[in-house]
């Protein structure tokens, strides 16, 4: 028998020894699932604790006690919290988020559309902002402390200092109201063509790019600069490598981990943090959907949105961690 007995008892250990990368990824994945589960409890519990309830909020001043009682009965709000939670989670795992209390439509179906819109906007903003940020970051390292670096820094700092709704309003004022160049409102709908859609989201995309650009750019710059001060970069310089080339070939790959992290964080923000931008530009995405639902306490919708937002955050963070491990072999072996 060549196979040592302990490996049967501790298959996990063996897996870890043989495929450290795979084991780490699996571990990270399981952790994410547990985290998501914990978040689901927080979401459900938090919403239960909110003041006011759906029946009275939804009917407002036109509510009669009869109508309120009818709605409560109808929605089964008289049942205990735990029963409702287990039922909700069980269905959510299968992708069924129930029906909206207010509109009686399937939440999954509506979210499908809204999430699609949000991802479209976020994706478009990411496609522009990520390469732009990384490129500008490298450029500003190359020209560090000289004029281009300073200009890039001042502009990006200015953009990050303004709240996004203000940037949005400024863009609307100039490009839609004064110049009449851009499409506003950025409302997209089913029957819209792709080109039309791109036109409609031009202004919100520009706003988002301006908002996330500075963060990613400055992190790229800082990370590369810290690598630049290490010994092997000096060697690269001494052996006569061009400055730009040494940044791109030697410094950038070693600075990848922090850059990936900040990019992931900003991508998550683009999906879940754009409520204000969606409202300002009248864009029918997830943020707007959730705000509408919160105002009338449409719980199935709020819960679904909350869970999906959490999932996006957790998923992107997980991807960032995994990519960082892949990019930096040293992280594979915990000390």
């Amino acid at each position: 028998m060549t196979n040592p007995a302990p490996s049967n008892i501790l298959p996990g250990l063996r897996l870890r020894q043989r495929f450290p990368l795979l084991a780490l990824i699996l571990e990270r994945f399981v952790l994410s699932i547990i985290l998501l589960f914990a978040v689901s409890i927080l979401i459900f519990g938090g919403l239960e604790a909110l003041p006011g309830d759906f029946a009275t909020t939804y009917l407002g001043q036109s509510a009669t006690p009869q109508a309120v009682a009818n709605i409560r009965q109808d929605l089964g709000l008289n049942r205990p919290v735990t029963t409702r939670y287990v039922e909700w989670l069980g269905n959510a795992v299968q992708g069924d988020f129930g029906t909206s209390w207010a509109s009686k439509n399937s939440v999954s179906e509506q979210i499908g559309k809204r999430l699609g819109n949000s991802l479209f906007l976020a994706g478009f903003a990411a496609v522009i902002s990520v390469p732009l940020a990384v490129g500008l970051g490298m450029l500003s390292v190359h020209f560090r402390n000289r004029m281009p670096d300073k200009i890039i820094n001042v502009i990006s700092l200015a953009a990050i200092s303004l709240p996004e709704f203000f940037i949005g309003y400024l863009l609307i004022l100039f490009f839609a109201v004064k110049l009449g160049m851009a499409t506003f409102p950025a409302t997209v709908y089913d029957s819209m063509g792709f080109v039309e859609r791109l036109k409609a989201i031009a202004l919100p995309t520009a706003t988002l790019v301006l908002v996330v650009l500075a963060h990613m750019m400055r992190m790229t710059r800082a990370a590369i600069l810290s690598v630049m001060s290490s010994a092997y970069m000096e060697t690269a310089e001494l052996k006569g490598l061009g400055a730009l080339r040494s940044i791109v070939k030697h410094a950038a790959p070693n600075a990848l981990a922090p850059i990936i992290n900040v990019v992931a964080l900003n991508l998550a923000y683009l999906v879940v943090g754009v409520v204000v931008v969606e409202v300002v530009f009248v864009y029918p995405g997830m943020g707007q959907y959730m705000v509408d639902a919160v105002t009338v306490r449409d719980m199935p919708v709020v819960q679904a949105c909350g869970l999906i937002f959490a999932a996006v955050y957790i998923f992107l963070n997980m991807i960032a961690d995994i990519l960082a491990i892949v990019a930096n072999p040293r992280l594979r072996h915990p000390r």
Partner: protein, 529 residues
């Protein structure tokens, strides 16, 4: 000129009636040919409607949670959308607020106003080609009056005991006389649907001037013209697009850049800036909505009428209208009715700010120490500012007000109708009876001032079944006086509905019934090239 002719004339100005229709209807109302002819020419010269074009509205109030079921219409967005595709049995006169025929051609009450017979219009087609029948009408009303219904009109129709068809007529039997029955049927939830919308409440099939072509809750609704519309005095544009815009700045930007033709809910704070835009017109209509400071008549220290009077005299109404409404409103007189209601009791003296009288009553009440007022931005726009303004005007009368700002979340559950002194808002109701029954009847659920007076209740019920208008007006006057002088409501102002359009929009009807030309804006205006 009686009310109906006035209404007809206003429709001519708005471009709503052809000459032939006007003459026909005016003469049926008892006007001579010569007078009618002159009247029409005068009015018609004022405006000539154009047909065609694509009308875009940017409206606040839409949400992803909106339902297409008329029974569940709640938001401003759905109010307007519903008016485009559906008809009620009765409409209200834009100028006088009186009931005028729609799908019901005419009506007749019994002597005690308990039984009402409505003659239903013939030859009206639904959007799917099916003809409107009495059964559709009965089924619609039955759906909305079902005790298990979640209809927003359930409260309004509570007194209907029996709904039945009698030949081509609808016969309603009430549990008590109600002279306002026809007006109640103009409620925007009561869209007549094929078979009452029982099988498919969300189908959006009605008899209105436009057919719904696409709908995304809270985002957008589009309409095309209903070529078989039974009325020619409406529906001038070819197609309509209603876009949900909940951000006030977004609405203003969309209007001033010409991306939409009409927006609702213009903020009084920015209306003067918007006025400067060259292609924009501000449309301000007197409304029934009012901002209130409510005191619970049954809780100390507000159970003392002298203290209540002191607090009423300490309210500077003019300043409130100027500062909080930007001038877009009318001063109130401490009862919830203004001249936009039919049978408004005229000639009641306007209460004005009088620190001396306030101080006199305050002293007489024997109260000392500060009075706690709870408020929030959700009570009405500018609610907190209004409370602080009030605090100042009270100070001059020697009354100390402590203003407590409450969180907007849960305000309606935890503060309004619960705490003894708070700020709030009331939308109007179609009739005085409705307004008083909702908020001032002793047994009303929303009696938020805890105003409990048997003699008031008795008068309210008497007025409800009184068919003689003069007698009824007297009763309403007496009721107004009771609320004004002994009630728990301080009513500084009625807010106007402030909307805005581009100058291409013509024929806008300032309807006193409700906001956005009583929801009919899209079906009443036309676009000038």
């Amino acid at each position: 000129m009686n009310d109906y002719t006035k209404y007809l004339a206003s429709r001519v100005t708005a471009g709503g009636l052809s000459r032939r229709e006007f003459m026909g209807r005016a003469m049926a109302a008892g006007i001579t040919l010569a007078v009618a002819d002159k009247l029409f020419t005068e009015r018609a010269e004022a405006a000539e409607p154009k047909r065609g074009g694509h009308l875009k509205l940017g409206l606040e109030g839409g949400a992803a949670t909106d339902s297409k079921d008329p029974a569940k219409f709640l938001s401003q967005f759905m109010f307007c959308v519903g008016r485009c595709w559906g008809d009620m049995l009765v409409e209200s006169d834009p100028l006088t607020g009186a009931a005028v025929p729609a799908l019901a051609e005419s009506w007749e009450p019994s002597k005690d106003a308990v039984t009402w017979t409505f003659k239903i219009r013939k030859g009206v087609k639904f959007h799917d080609g099916k003809e409107l029948t009495i059964d559709d009408v009965v089924a619609t009303l039955k759906r909305h009056t079902d005790k298990k219904s979640e209809s927003g009109a359930l409260g309004v129709l509570g007194s209907i005991k029996e709904i039945k068809a009698d030949g081509g007529n609808l016969v309603l039997t009430l549990s008590e006389g109600n002279a306002d029955m026809p007006l109640l049927l103009s409620d925007y939830h009561l869209v007549i649907q094929p078979n009452g919308g029982v099988e498919d409440p969300l189908a959006s099939i009605g008899t209105g001037p436009y057919k719904l072509t696409s709908f995304e809750a809270g985002v957008r609704a589009t309409f095309e013209k209903n070529k078989d519309d039974w009325r020619s005095d409406r529906g001038y544009v070819d197609s309509i697009e209603v876009i949900g815009m909940n951000d006030a700045t977004a609405r203003i930007a969309a209007l001033s850049s010409g991306q939409v033709h009409y927006i609702n809910r213009v903020d009084p704070k920015t209306v003067n800036l918007l006025k400067r835009a060259p292609n924009v017109e501000i449309l301000s209509t007197a409304g029934r909505g009012h901002y209130v400071f409510i005191m619970h008549c049954d809780k100390a220290p507000f159970d003392n009428n002298d203290l209540r009077l002191a607090l009423k005299y300490a309210m500077d109404r003019e300043t409130m209208v100027q500062k909080i409404l930007g001038g877009y409103g009318k001063v109130g007189n401490d009862f919830p009715i203004n001249s936009t209601y039919a049978l408004f009791p005229e000639g009641i003296e306007q209460r004005v700010y009088d620190p001396d009288k306030a101080a006199f009553h305050y002293k007489k009440s024997g109260h000392s120490g500060s009075v706690l007022l709870r408020t929030s931005e959700v009570a009405f726009p500018g609610g907190v500012d209004a409370a602080v303004l009030y605090q100042e005007s009270c100070k001059k009368a020697g009354i100390e007000i402590e203003v407590k700002r409450e969180p907007g979340d849960g305000y309606w559950t935890n503060v309004w109708n619960v705490q003894p002194f708070s700020t709030s808002y009331w939308g109007g109701r179609p009739t005085q009876d409705q307004m008083y029954s909702t908020a001032y009847l002793s047994t009303a659920d929303w009696n938020d001032t805890k105003f409990k007076r048997p003699d008031f209740d008795k008068l309210l019920l008497q007025a409800r079944s009184e068919l003689d208008e003069a007698k009824r007006k007297d009763m309403y006057r007496a009721m107004a006086m009771m609320v004004r002088d002994e009630g728990g409501v301080i009513l500084p102002m009625f807010n106007d509905f402030v909307n805005a359009s581009t100058k291409q929009v013509k024929g806008y009807v300032h309807d006193i019934g409700n906001d956005m030309s009583n929801g009919y804006v899209a079906t009443r205006v036309w676009l000038d090239a």
